[in-house]
């Protein structure tokens, strides 16, 4: 684990990605602890729609709330949803993919066709459908995004799991009489960590974007809780008078996705068995 982090830090794009993710996590943590420049929900009515200045680094909004403080909270909110939903998607997708590959036959067919059906919908449309049924909110966003990305993980796991299942070391384990649980966890899952790690990082970027999209449409995080997508939505009518209200949240979203993508690319380079063999 430390080896992977060390290698990531040595990798040029990995270092940039890790730095961005680290910065976001720090900002989010400060936001959660209330260590923002100003209270995030407090309305400074005198300073409404002030541009970036020494006391409001990123300006204020229509209600006089400090944009930077709200952004810090918004990052926390978006990251929470992204991490929670990807965690669920990883768990569900891995279990489904692993069992489809291991059991094969009818199980494989039914499970993977189900995943194909989910995958056939555009991500945001499927999320909209789920929210339309259940109603908006943080928890619904997490569930919707998790369901949308589960099939991707199921596929990422099933392919390699099918080939691992045929390997000699799995046959060897059968000859010792190892339990299925042991074979699945030690021989299959352990060898799937590398492709999963790459997929998780990339999925975090997509989840961040999907969450922003849902909130922008008013279906994700509900006001007054700040979230990146919501702040973008609120700024759209004031684009001309107060461009900072749009620029900073938009930059934050872009930079966050860039961070995860760079890390994902670097991870793929590092965990690729071909490059690994050369360094080993």
């Amino acid at each position: 684990m430390t080896r992977v982090f060390g290698a990531l830090w040595q990798h040029p794009s990995g270092r940039v990605g890790l730095f961005i993710i680290g910065l976001y996590l720090t900002l989010a943590l400060l936001g959660v602890l209330g260590l923002t420049p100003h209270p995030a929900l407090k309305q400074f009515m005198i300073d409404r729609l002030t541009g970036p200045s020494a006391s409001y680094w990123m300006g204020t909004d229509l209600l006089g709330r400090d944009t930077m403080s709200r952004l810090m909270l918004g990052i926390g909110q978006s990251m929470l949803i992204a991490f929670a939903s990807v965690a669920w998607a990883t768990l569900a997708g891995t279990i489904i993919g692993l069992f489809a590959a291991w059991l094969g036959g009818l199980w494989d067919g039914v499970l993977m066709r189900l995943m194909d059906v989910l995958l056939a919908f555009p991500a945001i449309l499927l999320a909209l459908l789920i929210i339309a049924i259940v109603g908006p909110g943080t928890f619904t966003s997490v569930t919707a995004i998790a369901i949308v990305y589960t099939p991707i993980f199921a596929r990422v796991v099933r392919g390699p799991a099918l080939s691992l299942k045929q390997r000699d070391f799995v046959d060897a384990a059968r000859t010792f009489g190892s339990s299925q649980r042991y074979i699945l966890s030690r021989h299959l899952l352990l060898n799937l960590v590398a492709p999963l790690a790459v997929q998780v990082t990339l999925a975090l970027a997509w989840a961040l974007l999907t969450e922003a999209g849902l909130s922008f449409l008013g279906l994700g995080t509900q006001p007054p809780t700040p979230s990146l997508g919501l702040m973008l939505a609120e700024s759209k009518n004031l684009m001309q008078q107060a461009p900072w209200l749009m620029i900073f949240p938009a930059l934050t979203i872009m930079l966050g996705i860039l961070g995860f993508n760079l890390t994902g690319d670097a991870l793929r380079d590092i965990l690729d068995p071909r490059t690994q063999r050369r360094t080993a």
Partner: protein
């Protein structure tokens, strides 16, 4: 006369600083048109890299020629320095000037095209044959490399063929371009001896027909003895000895050449069989197999499969404690399937496999052919060795740790090995690890499926010695699956010869090897390559392996056996 190929002071390096990481350190040789050069060495000696430099394929593997020259005479008489040529010229040279056969048959074929399409493609690119002419040429060349049912095989995909078959397809494709120089990189390592002998004979014949030169890379001196004109022995990137073949074989100058010649397992037709541990008539067997049948259904009918591959058809034998029964045969003869059946790893088997109560709950353990594939790369040695014990309800305690240490020491691995991961060991060490793992449960029987085939000759000899020692110490019975008669001669007490899913001859090792009765056994023994037999003439034996695909419901006629000696039975051959 200008040589076809002249290599001067070739240096090849890898990595970021190729000058510092040289794998080939100043190799020079010449090759005349129509001659064959054998490059011999163990893995890591730089023999493959040298060969790959000749058509600059080494560039694609991350290598770089750091010094030296390679002059290749093209068909129009001009001489090309390959080290200076650009990619476009190189591509033309690779297509028609220098053909290549690789070591790894699975990765060299495109898995999404039928082999027919791939061979036809080779003919279309190299000879401009299209349509029916291309198909006919593909069919002919498949026949020449002895692929049974050539016509229907054209529609097969690579994964439907065995490793040996795939290599034959590769050779067929290389032959399609009729190159001036053919580089063969361990082309027969994955093949059976009888096929190997045929391929060698075929290559020799092609060389005579076309005047093609060959560079033959191998770890097996005995193999090239019959075909090469010159030989170059390599060790750690340096050519330690090169001369005419007779001079090197009869009067080796360098210590390493002598070592190699000694390490090559010599087949001596039953004179070197083991003398310890004899079979005691009437003793209760530890495993007995009675009428084992394994059939894999192929082709879907409406309700059930229409036909089946009869991989194993009516095999019976028994194994006494402490003895080695070797099963020899070609790939596809069903020997590995038999081994897997004994451990219950096949899904379509019938017949009785009776195991006497052993020392542990799982008295039969197995060692696989490929030590790289049979160890999970993500687990360290401690976890690998603990697995069989945990699977059988033992706790990870001091006693288990002690047993691991004991077995590691016993198979000749360092004590600090427990913390390490499989990729930190060499092939031979990994196979020792697999042996230690198989012994963790204190079994009575160990099934060794081509367990030493993937190892270098000198490593192979040491692992064989270890196996014999372990057998005596723990009173193990071995079921030793192999295609290599010389190896079998060293370890077997009894030998069963399998052909097309059936045992054709079984009996005491000396009897079977010294006095083979069945025509297939005779052919198998005649095909064993050896330094001493280099002046023998190999004829292209076109005997076809019968197709194992049978209609559903087919049962083979009952076998009749003939006694050829005490403990030596031969299946009576039916004229067909």
């Amino acid at each position: 006369m200008t040589p076809l190929l002249r290599v001067r002071d070739l240096h090849v390096g890898f990595g970021r600083d190729p000058k510092a990481n040289e794998v080939v350190k100043g190799v020079s040789f010449e090759l005349m048109a129509g001659q064959t050069l054998a490059i011999v060495g163990e893995s890591g000696s730089g023999k493959s890299v040298t060969a790959l430099s000749i058509n600059r394929l080494v560039d694609f593997g991350g290598g770089q020629i750091t010094a030296g020259s390679i002059h290749f005479q093209r068909s129009d008489g001009s001489v090309l320095d390959v080290t200076q040529a650009d990619e476009k010229t190189l591509r033309r040279v690779r297509g028609s000037g220098i053909g290549m056969i690789f070591q790894e048959p699975m990765t060299s074929l495109n898995p999404v095209h039928t082999i027919g399409a791939q061979i036809e493609e080779a003919f279309r690119l190299n000879r401009g044959l299209t349509g029916a002419a291309g198909r006919q040429a593909a069919l002919d060349v498949l026949d020449r490399v002895r692929i049974p049912d050539a016509k229907s095989r054209l529609a097969y995909y690579p994964h439907q063929l065995s490793g040996g078959m795939r290599q034959r397809v590769m050779i067929a494709m290389a032959l399609a371009s009729s190159p001036r120089l053919l580089i063969a990189d361990e082309p027969t390592t994955a093949l059976d001896v009888t096929v190997q002998a045929q391929i060698m004979a075929l290559l020799a014949e092609l060389r005579a027909e076309t005047g093609m030169s060959m560079i033959f890379i191998t770890h097996d001196i005995g193999l090239v003895a019959g075909i090469a004109d010159n030989i170059m022995v390599m060790q750690q990137g340096v050519a330690v000895e090169q001369n005419q073949i007779d001079a090197v074989l009869d009067n080796p100058q360098h210590d390493y050449t002598r070592h190699l010649l000694k390490a090559v397992p010599h087949f001596s037709a039953g004179k070197a069989v083991r003398t310890d541990g004899h079979r005691v008539e009437g003793r209760a067997p530890i495993v007995s197999v009675d009428d084992l049948v394994v059939r894999f259904p192929v082709g879907r009918g409406l309700f059930r499969a229409k036909a089946a591959v009869h991989a194993v058809d009516g095999v019976s034998f028994d194994l006494q404690p402490g003895e080695t029964l070797a099963i020899v045969g070609e790939s596809g003869s069903g020997k590995s399937t038999t081994a897997r059946a004994i451990l219950g790893l096949n899904s379509h088997q019938r017949g009785a496999i009776t195991t006497a109560a052993g020392r542990s709950r799982r008295p039969i353990q197995m060692v696989f052919q490929d030590p790289f594939a049979s160890l999970n790369p993500r687990l360290n040695v401690e976890a690998l060795l603990a697995e069989p014990a945990i699977a059988n309800g033992q706790r990870k305690d001091a006693a288990l740790h002690e047993r691991m240490q004991f077995l590691l020491e016993r198979v000749g691995l360092p004590a600090d090995a427990l913390e390490r991961y499989p990729h930190q060991f060499s092939g031979g060490q990994r196979q020792r690890l697999c042996i230690a793992r198989a012994l963790m449960l204190n079994p009575d029987v160990v099934v060794l499926d081509e367990a030493v085939s993937a190892l270098d000759v000198s490593v192979q000899a040491r692992v064989l010695d270890l196996l014999v020692d372990l057998q005596r110490e723990f009173n193990l019975a071995y079921l030793f699956i192999s295609h290599d008669m010389a190896v079998v001669e060293r370890i077997a007490h009894r030998i069963a010869v399998m052909f097309a899913g059936q045992i054709v001859e079984i009996g005491e090792a000396r009897g079977v090897l010294a006095d083979p009765q069945h025509s297939y056994t005779k052919r198998l023994i005649a095909a064993v390559p050896a330094v001493e037999r280099r002046n023998q003439h190999f004829a292209v034996d076109m005997t076809q392996v019968p197709s194992l695909v049978r209609q559903a419901g087919y049962e083979p006629p009952e076998a009749r056996w003939r006694q050829a000696g005490i403990d030596h039975q031969v299946r009576v051959e039916v004229a067909s």
